[in-house]
Symmetry: C2
Subunit: 92 residues, 2 copies
DNA sequence: TATGTATTTAGATATTTATCTAAATATCTA
DNA sequence: TAGATATTTAGATAAATATCTAAATACATA
């Protein structure tokens, strides 16, 4: 999950995830939303993939990226723990 | 919320949050759980505070740190959006 | 097969970040 | 008030990261 937290720390990568929330997109379509070279976007996509936050599938000469929810579930669980257990801890 | 995501990207800082989940602790007590100098811990605590992930209160010569849940709620909301809206997006 | 399009890989560079040591500040207490 | 304890601030350094340009790879099609 460390890779996921690291991947999530960059605003551009969170923007990519937000784009993919609506539709799956090719690498090029994603790049069109940024003021950044394609190699830079490719690098970000790679980190998101390493972190299992996105999946990719080759389709002809394009690579289609989509959200992978599995790690999101883990991360939400990690956070929920803070919202539910805090009170409990205080009554030691 | 960007500061929060950045703060959460470091394993030591996440460990600090986990420690505070159980009890509030002084800076020194937190440092005792790490193989790291106190100034380094102080730096991490500062980033957590900037991100509103922890609160601090001076108590004599100690500074007591505790979880601040407000931003956690925002972050969980951000994540939940991925888990609930993904299907919807596909039926464009 | 030659050319164009989509994407990634490689290598360089500038910025950010984590960490350290030394010094400063604040508070307590003898 | 002098000394001890808790914590932070300042400044330095090494490692990590984001970004770029140039080149490589993969696929489609004329």
């Amino acid at each position: 999950m460390n890779d996921a937290f690291k991947a999530l720390s960059d605003p551009s990568r969170r923007k990519i995830l937000n784009l993919l929330k609506k539709n799956e997109l090719s690498a090029g379509e994603i790049a069109d939303h940024f003021n950044m070279t394609k190699p830079s976007i490719s690098h970000h996509l790679n980190l998101l993939k390493q972190a299992n936050l996105v999946d990719s599938e080759k389709k002809g000469q394009q690579i289609i990226y989509s959200i992978n929810t599995s790690v999101f579930e883990d991360v939400v669980t990690w956070f929920m723990d803070f919202l539910t257990k805090e009170e409990k801890g205080q009554m030691k």
